[in-house]
Symmetry: C2
Subunit: 365 residues, 2 copies
C-alpha cells in the first residue's frame, strides 16, 4: 500500500543503511537535457548505458525515462535492465530520487525530500524542475513503498553520506546554504537529519570541492567505505585548486569520532587532472538563460570518490588519466571483497557529476 | 528479467486464463483526451475513480497516467491505488494493455499485440496512437514480466473472451476486418489465437453490437461466466436495433460445443435503453478531424455485459435505467459467490466503452 506516513523514520524505527549494505537494486534516470549534455545527450547516454550494464552484473537496475526516449533507451540498454516511464528534468537519481530507510522487520520506506534544482530559480542549475519533484514519489509507487513527506526540507542524496550506524557526514556549504532552506539553523538541519535518517551524529565539513555546481556535495569529497572508515578526495599539491578544501576536510575528519565513538580510518585517494570541454564540445550544448554555463573556461570536477558501491562491486569512475591505475589499486586494497569495475566517465563529469550522482540504491528489506 | 521471448505461449506451455480466475491485480489508464471525453475528461475521470476504488476493495489496482496528470490523479485516487507514469493516447486498458498468459509452474508472461487505434488512420478512432503502442511493454517492464512479441498481428483484448479451458469467442466483424489485418484468412487468424492464447477452439460470432466504435468487440456481446457458461446481451424486442445481431449470436452459441465438447449454458441479460449525448454535452467535446464524432445524433452502446470480474466480485455497469435492477438480480444468480458491485457508468459509455474496456486483469501466477 503506497501511503504517505505522517511520522518520521526515527519514531518508527527506520534508519538509512550505508551504501555498502546489501541492495535490492539500483535506480537511474536517462539523460536528455540538451542544455546540460552535449550533442543531444548522445555521448552521455552511451556512458549511462555502460554504467547501467556494469551495475546490472551485480544487482537489478531500473532506468527511468521520459516517454519520448523509451524506445531509444530500450534499444540501447540490454533487456535485463528494466525501463520504466518516469519523466524528469535531468538525470541525477542520487539527488532527484528518494532516500530509502529500513527497519529490522524487513520493511523499507522512502523519504521524499524537497528539491529546488540545487539552489532555486536564481542559483539553481535549470528551471523548471517540476518533473523532478515527482520522481521520488513515482519510484516509491512503482515499488509500492510507503513515503515519508519531507518536502518542507530541501536537500539532495549527494549532500549526505552515512555509515548506517548513526553517523552522517555533510558540508556546511551545501546544507546550510540559504539557497536551499532559508532561515534555518544548523541545529534545525541536524534535527531534520536525525529525525528522517535516524542518525545520532552529524560530522560537518566546511566546503565541498571548488567549482561543484551543487554547492559542495559531500559525495565528491568523502564516502563511507564501511563503518569507521572513509575514502577522501586528495591532493598533496599546495597549488591544486582543491588543496585547501581537502586539507580542511582531512583535519576535521582526523579529529572527530563517529556515533559509536570510533576514530575514522581515512583513505586518501588522489585526484585525477581536472576536466574542461573543448570549444567544439561546448558549442554542442544548447543555451538557456536558466542553465549553468558549460564553456571551455569552466573546470569540471573529477574524483574517484564519486563512485558507486553495489552488491559485491565498486563501479569506479576513471578519466583516461595517469592517476586511474593508482585509484584502482587503492580501491582494491580498500575493498578486498568487491570487484573494482572502472568506467571512463568523462562525459558524465562534464554534465556536472559522476557515477554516484546518477545512481540511487534501494536497500534489501 | 524483462525479455522478449522468441517463441509462442503454446510452445512454452502458457495459456490465457479466464477473467474469472484469480487475479494478482488490475491495470487501468487515466482518461484525458478532450476529443473523446467531454469537459476536459473531468466527468469521466470521476467515474474511473469510482471503478478503481470499487476494484481496489477486492484486488490491487494500478492506474497509469501521463506525467501532466500524475498529481491530479494522485489527488483524486485513494492511496492504496498505485499510480505509475505510463503515457497513452486514450484510456482503454483492455485494448491497449497486454494480454497475460500463465503456466502451471507459477510463471506469468505478457503478449504485446499489434494495435492501430481500432482501424488505422482512416477508420480508427484517433491519430496518432504512438503512446498506446508502448503501453503493453511498459506494463510488463514494471512487473518484470517477459514479453511475447505479437505486434505483427493487430487485435485488442476486447475482441476476445476465453474460458481458460481452450475456448475463445470472437466476432468475424472485428477479427476479420481488413482495417486490422489485411489479407489474412480466417484460418490464419485462428492460428494466431491458437499459438498465442493456447486455445483449442474459436467460436465465431458474426457481428458485434450495432454502433460499436471498435468494429464489433465481443466484450459488448458475451462473456464467460465460468467454463461452459456465458452471459449474452439480449433483447426480446424485434424493433430494437440490436435484435438481429443478438438473435444471430444466440443461435450460433446455442449450437456450438466448447473445446471440451460441452454445450454452453446461456444467460440472457436484457439491454438497458441506449444512450445519447445532450447538445450541451456534445459541445464540451473537442473537434479533431481524426476523431470519432460524438454528436447528439450518435447512439452509444450500453450493456451490462461489459462488466469486470475481479477477485470475489463483479463490477457491474449501471445506467440509472429501469433494467438495472433486473441485471443486478441476474448477476447475483449467475455469481452466487461474488459480490455484485454496481456503478453508474454513463460517462464511460459516451466515451465508447465501459468497465470491461477500461480494465485489464493480471492473473496470479
Amino acid at each position: 500500500m503506497v501511503l504517505t506516513i505522517n511520522s518520521t523514520p526515527r519514531k518508527d524505527g527506520f534508519r538509512m543503511p550505508g551504501e555498502f549494505e546489501k541492495h535490492k537494486g539500483t535506480w537511474m534516470l536517462w539523460p536528455t537535457r540538451t542544455d546540460t549534455w552535449r550533442a543531444g545527450a548522445k555521448p552521455a547516454q552511451r556512458v549511462y548505458v555502460e554504467v547501467a550494464k556494469a551495475i546490472s552484473k551485480f544487482e537489478p537496475v531500473t532506468m527511468c525515462v521520459r516517454a519520448e526516449q523509451f524506445e531509444n533507451a530500450r534499444a540501447l540498454l540490454p533487456h535485463d535492465i528494466r525501463i520504466v516511464e518516469i519523466s524528469s528534468n535531468d538525470a541525477w537519481m542520487r539527488d532527484i530520487g528518494p532516500t530509502f530507510v529500513k527497519n529490522d522487520k524487513g520493511e523499507v520506506r522512502g523519504i521524499d525530500w524537497g528539491f529546488n534544482a540545487w539552489g532555486g530559480i536564481k542559483e539553481g542549475l535549470y528551471f523548471p524542475w517540476d518533473l523532478d519533484l515527482l520522481v521520488k514519489q513515482k519510484v516509491l509507487e512503482i515499488e509500492r513503498i510507503s513515503r515519508y513527506d519531507a518536502t518542507d526540507f530541501i536537500t539532495e542524496g549527494g549532500a549526505i553520506t552515512v555509515d548506517g550506524e548513526g553517523t552522517l557526514i555533510t558540508t556546511e556549504q551545501c546544507l546550510l546554504n540559504p539557497n536551499r532552506n532559508n532561515n534555518i539553523t544548523k541545529e534545525e538541519v541536524e534535527d531534520k537529519l536525525l529525525q528522517y535518517l535516524n542518525i545520532q551524529k552529524v560530522i560537518w565539513l566546511k566546503d565541498g570541492l571548488v567549482g561543484d555546481e551543487t554547492d559542495g556535495h559531500v559525495d565528491e569529497v568523502v564516502f563511507f567505505v564501511r563503518p569507521g572508515e572513509v575514502a577522501l578526495s586528495w591532493t598533496d599539491d599546495p597549488g591544486h585548486p582543491q588543496y585547501a578544501v581537502l586539507q580542511d576536510a582531512y583535519q576535521r575528519l582526523e579529529k572527530v569520532t563517529d556515533a559509536k565513538g570510533r576514530k575514522l580510518k581515512i583513505n586518501k585517494i588522489h585526484l585525477p587532472n581536472q576536466i574542461t570541454l573543448s570549444e567544439t564540445e561546448s558549442l554542442e550544448i544548447d543555451y538557456s538563460c536558466y542553465s549553468f554555463e558549460r564553456s571551455p573556461e569552466v573546470t569540471f570536477i573529477s574524483t574517484y570518490i564519486n563512485c558507486y558501491l553495489c552488491n559485491g562491486a565498486v563501479i569506479l569512475p576513471t578519466f583516461n588519466d595517469p592517476q586511474d591505475e593508482y585509484a584502482i589499486e587503492a580501491f582494491k586494497n580498500m575493498f578486498p571483497d568487491r570487484e573494482i569495475f572502472p568506467i571512463n566517465t568523462r562525459e558524465i563529469s562534464v554534465g556536472g557529476g559522476n557515477i554516484h550522482c546518477i545512481t540511487q540504491q534501494q536497500p534489501l528489506p
